[in-house]
């Protein structure tokens, strides 16, 4: 009982003062049976509390049998139960009794709903670690065997996830049995089970002895990789990464590569997609020699695959591929073997392919260096900046910093401007929103002169956009610009334009003035705020639209702390007091809130 008393839930703690027997199990079980699912769910989520009230012995002898036998419930309740039981070892008396938790979890591991089953397996994996080696063989391994030979596919699927946790601590005889069972699940006649086995193949390989990996895992890998269902084959590609990490270069060449080559040319695009998607991991696991001889040619094929899906996945990996190459050969390989394909992709027919490429292509400039970038990559950037699809242009603009480091942004600025202007006026507001978010970055890189000349008017135009999200983003953008360019710049360029809008006939624009003041006041400091902004805000307190008036109250609350006491008492207070008597209840509310926050009462 050492473990149990450590946790303070042993008999000494449970039985002594008698308050634990206050709750007959029936009352508690009634709670778990409540007609209302929500209440039942709440009870299950507090199962540990119930167990605590019962004490370890009664939890073992009464609660767990109840949970094992009588729970037939909604999946949501079962999910909560499966999760709870994973952390229950202390509540049943510590590691010596961990095996008591196996029966209910075994039942949960056989239900249909995948989420529940996966959670039960997760809990079983957790509990397996708490078993002693003896208990593991006496209780846990038999459970895995029962699941692995269950009638319905669900239990066999669950078993797949349990082999790897019991294998390392089992005796040799048991190990052989476990391997045998895993083998048979890999050729199960239900595809669901084969998929489960394939997805655990890599994890299982990692805990096996190297000999068994070569003699047993590799053949399983080969057969799963040529399964009749592509959903199984593609999972074998995932396992390939883990298996490859375990083998020597020579073994890789003979044992794994034939299968991987085949996967890269599979007739199903899903499998090829998987190869493209896992390319970086495969590249690392296979090492530089195989990469050069085999993977690069395979990658070239993926870049010109007939399915756009595959091309896009491959295009995404272009930068990582370069980064993972040996430093000395990088430039040559990319220039000679990859760049020609990239050039093709710039004018791909599919926009997802182009936008995937645009999201990483700038990263190649650091690998290729200044001259190559100017000569070979720059034309591609420029072409993508003119692409018809806004996603492509945005992806280029959002990664400008990579190029800036290598060749400086000036090279691009002439092409950049039309691209930015066009995105700024795009019909889709999310495109406009995205480009606004890059403005501070662009402004920093292009410098204040270029900005004033070319981009300032755009930033002001966004303030009167018809979509609120754009006006809001434009407001924040101004604040960031002021932080970058300083208060003097703000005073000369931005503040006058913002304040003019206070007289706009459209009340939404008048409100934008207030929102801008909220955002800018802090960055602009006390003087500008008091002298230029405050008078405008105060004037707007007489606006005929209530929304403007209560936003005046909010603005005053916001800029109040920046003002000095004179301005607060002399100018702000009377206006707020007047607003506090407004006929509109919202105006009243916000005015009063401002008064109390600013302590003007």
């Amino acid at each position: 009982m050492a473990g149990a008393s450590e946790l303070g839930t042993g008999p000494g703690a449970a039985g002594g003062d008698g308050d634990d027997s206050l709750y007959p199990i029936a009352v508690l079980i009634d709670e778990l049976r409540n007609e209302d699912v929500q209440l039942r769910l709440n009870s299950i989520k507090k199962l540990s509390t119930i167990a605590l009230a019962l004490g370890v012995e009664r939890t073992r002898s009464e609660l767990l049998p109840f949970l094992t036998d009588t729970i037939y419930d909604e999946d949501e309740v079962l999910l909560a139960l499966a999760e709870q039981l994973g952390n229950f070892t202390g509540l049943v008396g510590g590691p010596d009794f961990a095996h008591c938790l196996l029966p209910p979890l075994e039942n949960l591991a056989t239900v249909e709903e995948t989420v529940v089953r996966d959670k039960a397996v997760e809990s079983l994996r957790q509990i397996s670690q708490e078993h002693t080696p003896v208990a593991l063989e006496a209780y846990f391994v038999p459970l895995v065997k029962r699941l692995a030979s269950g009638d319905w596919f669900t239990s066999r699927t669950s078993a797949c996830g349990l082999f790897s946790v019991c294998y390392p601590r089992a005796s040799n005889a048991v190990k052989a049995e476990i391997r045998q069972q895993f083998r048979s699940l890999c050729s199960d006649d239900t595809p669901m089970v084969r998929r489960a086995a394939a997805s655990k193949l890599g994890e299982f390989a990692k805990v096996l002895e190297l000999d068994s990996v070569k003699s047993e895992i590799v053949p399983l890998f080969t057969s799963l990789a040529s399964d009749e269902q592509d959903s199984v084959r593609l999972l074998a590609v995932e396992a390939c990464v883990s298996i490859a990490q375990l083998l020597s270069q020579d073994d890789l060449e003979t044992l794994v590569m034939p299968t991987l080559r085949q996967a890269a040319e599979d007739k199903s695009w899903r499998v090829r997609y998987m190869v493209a998607d896992r390319f970086s991991e495969l590249q690392k696991a296979m090492g530089p020699k195989i990469t050069l001889n085999d993977l690069i040619p395979a990658f070239q094929n993926l870049l010109k695959d007939c399915e756009a899906e595959v091309r896009a996945a491959a295009a995404h990996k272009v930068k990582e591929l370069g980064e993972n190459l040996p430093i000395e050969d990088r430039e040559t390989i990319i220039m000679n073997q990859i760049l020609p394909y990239i050039k093709e992709l710039v004018s791909d027919t599919n926009q997802h392919v182009k936008s995937a490429l645009a999201s990483v292509i700038m990263g190649l400039s650091t690998i290729l260096g200044k001259e190559n970038t100017i000569e070979h990559l720059l034309p591609l950037f420029l072409a993508q900046l003119k692409d018809e699809c806004p996603d492509v242009r945005l992806n280029i603009i959002s990664n400008l910093d990579c190029v800036n480091e290598v060749i400086g942004i000036r090279q691009l600025s002439q092409s950049l401007l039309p691209a930015i202007v066009e995105l700024a006026e795009d019909a889709k507001w999310r495109v406009r929103l995205a480009i606004i978010e890059y403005m501070p970055l662009l402004a920093g890189q292009l410098g204040v002169e270029f900005f004033d000349e070319k981009l300032n008017s755009l930033c002001m135009a966004w303030l009167v956009d018809h979509v609120y999200a754009i006006r809001e983003a434009a407001t924040n953008n101004l604040m960031k610009l002021v932080q970058k360019f300083g208060t003097e710049w703000a005073q000369n360029t931005i503040v006058p334009k913002v304040l003019v809008m206070a007289n706009d006939p459209n009340y939404l624009h008048r409100m934008t003035t207030l929102f801008c003041i909220n955002a800018l006041s802090e960055a602009c400091g006390q003087e500008i705020t008091t002298k230029q902004m405050l008078p405008i805000v105060l004037k707007m307190a007489g606006d005929q639209v209530a929304n403007v008036r209560f936003n005046v109250a909010k603005s005053l609350q916001k800029i109040g702390p920046i003002l000095d006491t004179n301005a607060l008492q002399g100018e702000v207070k009377p206006v707020l007091q007047k607003l506090g008597q407004d006929e509109d209840m919202d105006v009243k509310y916000f005015a009063q809130e401002a008064i109390s926050v600013l302590a003007l009462a």
Partner: protein, 467 residues
Amino acid sequence: MSSAPTTPPSVDKVDGFSRKSVRKARQKRSQSSSQFRSQGKPIELTPLPLLKDVPSSEQPELFLKKLQQCCVIFDFMDTLSDLKMKEYKRSTLNELVDYITISRGCLTEQTYPEVVRMVSCNIFRTLPPSDSNEFDPEEDEPTLEASWPHLQLVYEFFIRFLESQEFQPSIAKKYIDQKFVLQLLELFDSEDPRERDYLKTVLHRIYGKFLGLRAFIRKQINNIFLRFVYETEHFNGVAELLEILGSIINGFALPLKAEHKQFLVKVLIPLHTVRSLSLFHAQLAYCIVQFLEKDPSLTEPVIRGLIKFWPKTCSQKEVMFLGELEEILDVIEPSQFVKIQEPLFKQIAKCVSSPHFQVAERALYYWNNEYIMSLIEENSNVILPIMFSSLYRISKEHWNPAIVALVYNVLKAFMEMNSTMFDELTATYKSDRQREKKKEKEREELWKKLEDLELKRGLRRDGIIPT
């Protein structure tokens, strides 16, 4: 340099302003399998004479040759290539369709492998990725198969072949085997409804003629459905497969095998949980009712299953469930009704009190169904107490006047049915509510005590309160 470039949200997908119905103005999309592309070279076929132009002794050989020619696949995404040859293959396929329909003695043993090879070459292909990853079959136009001008004729030909009077399953089974069927079933995922329609007929014929494949076909359909429900939620041909199953179930012998019952409970019932239920609900409900007509003792597990998977947030699905339940109640046996009435009417009581008026209305329509009314009347002593408090409350609180009116009718019906009990329930309504509230309070107290206990234990464990 940032190593993880931020990708802005994909513009096409999320823009709230472009509605799907507006986007629809685009031209119809079409696609074709990956295998056809990038062949490059033009295809040459040597024109053969027409079958009717040669003596009948030479026809069998010419027929084989034509079948072989039709194994050549053209790229239909490239609308300009091989125009002449595409037209030639089309007319040849047409000729083959006519030939196999009209001619006698054309199905010699040698023709079977060639026919199956030609059909396999043409129809079996990896389906391409769906164009929009959020393809909504209810709103979006399906992507049509580009090679349909040929594909349609191949399907047409294959169906005539299977339906031919000379067709001998005992020979064909060597070629139309499990692997063939498996590939056929995968094609049901095609986005093109025309293709799925042909596939339905083909599979139905194969199921009818190849007794040895029946169990296999059922098992594979099982697997497709289970994957659809528990793994992907995506498969275009569910409605078509269910339609075939509907007629298969119709032919099941009694007593039902355990396999079939398992299919009902473990596959058909869980199909109700899928998001896109509306696309195949009619076919699914038909299958369920077929089962219940075969074996009424399955009523209880079916209704319990529906209650277990009752939609929690989706009102449209709830309406569908209520519709299906009514179909079931239409054929329910009174002895089965008694077994299930309690959980059933607890669910109906919840639906009746739904704030969504369509759900409430659909449930209240049950009281217009004469058969259901007679069942309720017979068991009013059980059902009335379950329904009463919900009805009573809605009659006072529901926002929708039409619902309130319907509820009044139902209450009136109950009053006429069992006036003694009705009066009793009305009289005790208030005290019942109070009792419930009291119970609720007791629950809260219980949990509070339990939590205090836990807290105390925790403190004791941490050594703050000495034991």
